[in-house]
């Protein structure tokens, strides 16, 4: 999966710096694209803020105050210089600093994403190795079947069914919505985190577990595993010392991609569980055409995505140079 040019020459550091520079360029392009797209959105932010009762003069006045009547380039330049100076601007919708709005939400989303990753990685390895080792056994077949089912299942359906099952209809043991009150840290509310984390984890494990399983099977079938057997090593040593590290290494790029997908996948999960994270904020910002908030959300998500993607490339490159 992972792409792009391996470090053919020059030091790895230079390559990494190059990739980071490209990353900044990508982020810049993302922001330009987003800016242009929002300009084309129907509906004027000033009108959205003022509502249908406001007169045209009031709308024009607000546009002036928000700086929306300046040329596009000037507006963008204003925003960009602000961001480069560490100022993400203020929300058009409610006038609060974007950083204040996003900081707790970034924390919430990242907690959700990182907790899920903390579960996805070991579980995937565990399940992948186990099913690969017990290849074609009943548990293996069951896992393969269930994971097929899950790749076909939209996230909203998983969320909806989990809520119905664990919170509202069948068992009532978990909260049906995962609201983290403002000012609280997400991990003060472990019960609220269970269902969203479970949803992300299920989706992740079903995908990554399959990949680990496949790469573990590859590792077990490899020449070096055969060589280890021919050296008279014990089955356990062949499995854990020879096959496992390589299987895990082979899955690392995919794991990074899963991490990237998990970070961006929180959008849907947050919506389903009303979790106050970046995703829900982004959806409302899009609905309200709140460009500064939208920009900041997408930049955070895109950065996270790019970092994990870069990790995938780094792992792939390490793998290739082996």
């Amino acid at each position: 999966m992972a792409s792009s040019t391996a470090p053919r020459r020059g030091s790895p550091t230079r390559w990494l710096l190059g990739r980071l520079a490209v990353g900044l360029l990508v982020l810049f392009l993302v922001s330009v694209l987003l800016f242009l797209v929002t300009q084309a959105l129907p509906g004027d932010i000033a009108r959205i803020i003022l509502g249908k009762d406001a007169t045209a003069a009031q709308v024009a006045d607000l546009r002036g105050r928000l700086g929306l009547d300046r040329p596009l380039v000037a507006q963008y330049w204003h925003w960009l210089t602000g961001v480069l100076g560490g100022d993400l601007g203020t929300s058009l919708d409610n006038g609060r600093p974007v950083a204040d709005i996003l900081a707790p939400r970034v924390l919430n989303s990242f907690t959700l994403g990182l907790m899920s990753m903390a579960l996805i990685l070991p579980l995937s390895v565990l399940i992948g190795v186990f099913t690969a080792y017990q290849r074609d056994s009943l548990p293996d077949r069951a896992f393969v079947a269930v994971s097929s089912l899950f790749t076909a299942l939209p996230a909203f359906v998983v969320g909806m069914l989990l809520i119905a099952f664990f919170a509202t209809s069948v068992f009532r043991v978990l909260p049906g919505v995962s609201n983290i009150p403002p000012g609280d840290l997400p991990w003060w509310h472990p019960a609220e985190l269970v269902l969203p984390v479970t949803t992300l984890t299920l989706m992740g494990v079903m995908y990554l577990g399959r990949l680990v399983r496949a790469s573990f099977i590859d590792a077990m079938d490899s020449e070096y595993a055969q060589m280890a057997v021919l050296k008279g090593l014990s089955g356990r040593r062949v499995l854990f010392r020879h096959a496992l590290p390589n299987a895990v290494a082979a899955s690392l790029p995919a794991a990074s991609l899963v991490a990237a997908v998990t970070i961006t996948g929180v959008v849907v999960v947050e919506y389903v569980y009303s979790y106050p994270g970046l995703g829900t904020e982004l959806v409302s910002a899009v609905n309200a055409h709140d460009l500064p908030v939208m920009q900041a959300c997408v930049l955070v998500l895109a950065t996270a995505y790019y970092v994990f993607n870069l990790l995938a490339d780094v792992f792939t490159t390490l793998g290739r140079s082996r």
């Binding site: 053919r8 020459r9 079938d221 490899s222 020449e223 070096y224 055969q226 060589m227 280890a228 057997v229 021919l230 050296k231 008279g232 090593l233 014990s234 040593r237 010392r241 020879h242 590290p245 390589n246 290494a249 140079s321 082996r322």
Partner: protein, 579 residues
């Protein structure tokens, strides 16, 4: 006797056919047995079976492998595991994939020694030094990918020897190595066997290597032993045919290919397996001959050794052509080229007369691949002058130039599109260069296939259905339909079995005879001797020696060429006297 093997049979689970069948031999400590066979002969399966191991999808169904009075095949799983490594050790064909990429050398070398770490390390250090590698900590901390191919192979050998086995099985350990590296590895193997009183089984497809390293040779064909003994005294028609197909670096002789294809698994085994391709086959060959001692002194599985012995080897020595005096079709002068800023060719100059065959010789890293890419215009970072047929080759070449300068690739598996039939592959250039379609294009394609001796019925086959040699001949045919003036052949025989290589070399020789000019890129001096008129030797991107093939190979002047010639192995010559 140290090692006694008998009746070893391995079966493919899916089809129930035997991959190797009823193999037996004996081996004394300190001696080396060579196992020779072409691809698909079952020699690797045999090598693994000697450790009581069969690959997925295969089962050892019978036989004994007795080492030090213990029959490995009769041991329960746990004890067999202990016996592996400590009694029988294995050296893999490709250490690049067989060494675990994520473990340090120290770990891989010491694991399974059943010794305290300090002692284990001490033993490993001394062994590494014995195989000519440093035994220091820095080296032991390395991962396999940080070693060269030759180093990896010596580590693999040290790894095999470390637990102190009685028998060591080496599966094609020098395939893919340069001749000079190969020479060092062979030296290590010989030295270890001698000094540690080890029995060794050396599996290879290369007769010259086996003849060099082994005391006796087991020739495997179609999963069976067809001959057992000294190559110099070969009596079996297959062994003799193989020897006839091997080129020699010392003199030019006609190479005799073996017609037909090697039998697959599941071929009819009621009679002699070689009979379908044997020039001496007779009615009696429809029943299976036993492996018996024959007059030459070897054990051979053939009814007709007497007749075979009477037909002498057709060692037709071909004289080198007189030096060419005609105009040069290609002149390379002052060529510098590189990749990504790193220069790989330095001031390379040479010329090629019309109708001549020039061999571009070099080991890996010599720059010969860059050189051929420059010639066909694939390489972009280059400066210097290449004049072809009176025209300076510009980076953007016109259609006719491209047509007249054709290129045949090294790998027979990649040079033809797997999605095109043989005929379709040939129609592409016909359409591109001549705008030909339909009947006329097909006629020209078939003409070319005829020329390379590909039967018409193969025209609609896909490459996957052809043998390596057939594919290489189709690739040549594809070049021929372009009506080239110069053919560049990049290691085109290196991936082929000798019997097949012979056919390709003979084909090229006949094309030369028809006036085609040719550049033959290779590392194999024997092939050079059998085909080239002049030789240009490349080392580290520089031309170190050029001259006629005879002059360069027989009396090399540059030290590098000399070492190359010295490291090149040849099959024994003593053959003629045996009959």
């Amino acid at each position: 006797m140290e090692v006694e093997v008998s009746g070893v049979t391995v079966r493919a689970d899916a089809t129930g056919h035997d991959i190797v069948r009823d193999i037996g031999f004996e081996l004394a400590r300190g001696s080396v047995l060579g196992v020779v066979g072409e691809s698909g002969s079952g020699k690797s399966t045999l090598a693994l079976a000697l450790l009581g191991f069969a690959r997925k999808g295969a089962t050892i169904t019978g036989g004994r492998v007795v080492v030090d009075d213990v029959d490995l095949l009769a041991l329960p799983e746990k004890e067999l595991r202990r016996a592996r490594g400590s009694r029988v050790a294995y050296v893999p064909q490709d250490p690049a994939t067989a060494l675990n990429p994520s473990l340090s050398l120290a770990t891989q070398l010491t694991e399974g020694l059943r010794l305290p770490r300090r002692e284990a390390l001490a033993r490993v250090r001394s062994l590494l030094e014995a195989v000519g590698l440093p035994g220091d900590d820095a080296f032991l901390r390395r991962r396999p990918r940080q070693l060269s191919g030759g180093q990896q192979q010596r580590v693999a050998i040290a790894m095999a020897v470390a637990p102190g086995p009685r028998l060591i099985v080496l599966d094609e350990p020098t395939t893919g190595l340069d001749v000079s590296t190969q020479a060092r590895v062979l030296e290590v193997v010989r030295e270890l066997c001698r000094s540690r009183d080890l029995a060794a089984i050396y599996v290879s497809h290369d007769l010259a290597v086996v003849a060099e390293v082994a005391d006796r040779v087991l020739v495997v064909y179609g999963g069976e032993v067809v001959e057992h003994g000294s190559l110099a005294r070969a009596a079996h028609p297959y062994t003799r045919a193989l020897l006839a197909a091997v080129p020699s670096s010392t003199h030019r002789h006609r190479l005799v290919p073996i017609p037909g294809r090697a039998p697959g698994i599941g071929a009819d085994r009621s009679g002699c397996v070689f009979a379908p391709r044997c020039a001496h086959a007779a009615e009696e060959c429809s029943s299976r001959p036993p492996l018996v001692e024959v007059p030459s002194g070897t054990l051979a599985r053939c009814w007709r050794t007497a007749e075979v012995a009477r037909s002498p080897r057709p060692a037709v020595v071909v004289d080198a052509a007189p030096p060419f005096s005609g105009d040069e079709i290609l002149t390379v002068s002052g060529l510098n080229a590189g990749y990504g800023g790193r220069q790989t060719l330095f001031e390379v100059s040479f010329g090629l007369a019309r109708g001549e065959c020039l061999a571009l010789v070099g080991e890996s890293g010599s720059g010969k691949t860059t050189m051929s890419r420059c010639l066909v215009g694939l390489h972009e970072e280059q400066e210097g002058k290449i004049v072809f047929d009176g025209q300076v080759l510009a980076p953007r070449r016109d259609k006719d130039l491209r047509r007249e300068l054709q290129y045949v690739f090294q790998n027979p598996y990649g040079s033809l599109s797997p999605q095109r039939t043989v005929e379709s592959s040939l129609l592409v250039p016909l359409r591109h260069y001549f705008g030909l379609k339909g009947t006329e294009a097909r006629r020209r394609a078939h003409e070319a296939l005829d020329r390379v001796e590909i039967p018409t019925h193969l025209a609609n086959r896909y490459p996957a259905e052809l043998s390596g040699g057939q594919r290489q001949r189709v690739a040549i045919a594809r070049a021929l339909v372009c009506r080239p003036k110069l053919l560049i052949c990049d290691e085109i025989t290196s991936a082929l079995d000798v019997s097949v290589q012979a056919a390709v070399v003979e084909l090229l020789r006949s094309l030369l005879a028809e006036g085609l000019s040719m550049i033959f890129v290779t590392h194999d001096l024997a092939v050079v001797r059998s085909i080239a008129d002049t030789v240009t030797v490349l080392n580290q991107g520089r031309v170190v020696e050029k001259g006629t093939a005879d002059a360069v190979l027989s009396s090399p002047t540059h030290p590098y060429t000399r070492s190359l010639v010295a490291a090149t192995l040849d099959v024994p010559d003593t053959f003629e006297h045996a009959g």
